[in-house]
Symmetry: C2
Amino acid sequence: MTRKLALEDLSVGDTFESAEHVMEADAIIAFASEFDPQPFHTDPVAAKDSFFGTLVASGWHTGAVSMRLLTESLPFEHGVIGSGGPLTWASPVYPGDALRVLTRIEEIVPSRSKPGRARVVVHCQTVDQAGEVKQDFRPNLMVWSRDVDPQG
Amino acid sequence: MTRKLALEDLSVGDTFESAEHVMEADAIIAFASEFDPQPFHTDPVAAKDSFFGTLVASGWHTGAVSMRLLTESLPFEHGVIGSGGPLTWASPVYPGDALRVLTRIEEIVPSRSKPGRARVVVHCQTVDQAGEVKQDFRPNLMVWSRDVDPQG
């Protein structure tokens, strides 16, 4: 069993790479039907007349899949807990694209008021099988030292 | 039938308000089981020992539901097409919270290279039944004039 990571295990420049997740057309349509019901996300025929010219995934679907990949690739002791950050959908995600998330620790800012707790800025790039960046996200995460209780 | 909005119908300061969507515990757990499988999003008992102390929605679930509410409340002719922007999950979303999205047009930046097309910055706040801000998002949207073909 891999030991989970606490604040003292992290350094600026550390990198993490997730497994791959293929965006199937059925899943793109199912997600968008519930959360982003626009023709270019739900209807391959109507999508031809849209700005995109073909079916593409909702950005929120790409974000949600990226979160799944992130939870699997950042083994933080108390979980991956973020308060958001700058989010860019850099290019469209098409059916069949195989997404991976590449993460780099950019900044570690210890809390002044709460010892043993830090804000950790990570740069998460969601790339496809060709390495093209599809989503770029720089969330602020909360991370704790091993001996600190997050409920404390 | 409401006429859909094109670029010439929009002004800085225009506001839009969505319908309400209640975040049920079952839906919070189902979304997170697929996209953000962490105990504080999937297991009401284990969540008690987490930072949050109780079950909370994945931020990506809040984002996805907000997108649904946005597509229903911004009747843009060619759809709500965004390339992202600063995203903050301001406070946790709990089971039973009734979310609404309040949108204000912040900026309209006509394209210099593509006539009849503009980048429109909107400020979208997802609030609960008490008006507390749960998510704050300032995406860049693409909007076209009525006589312009987005595929042109």
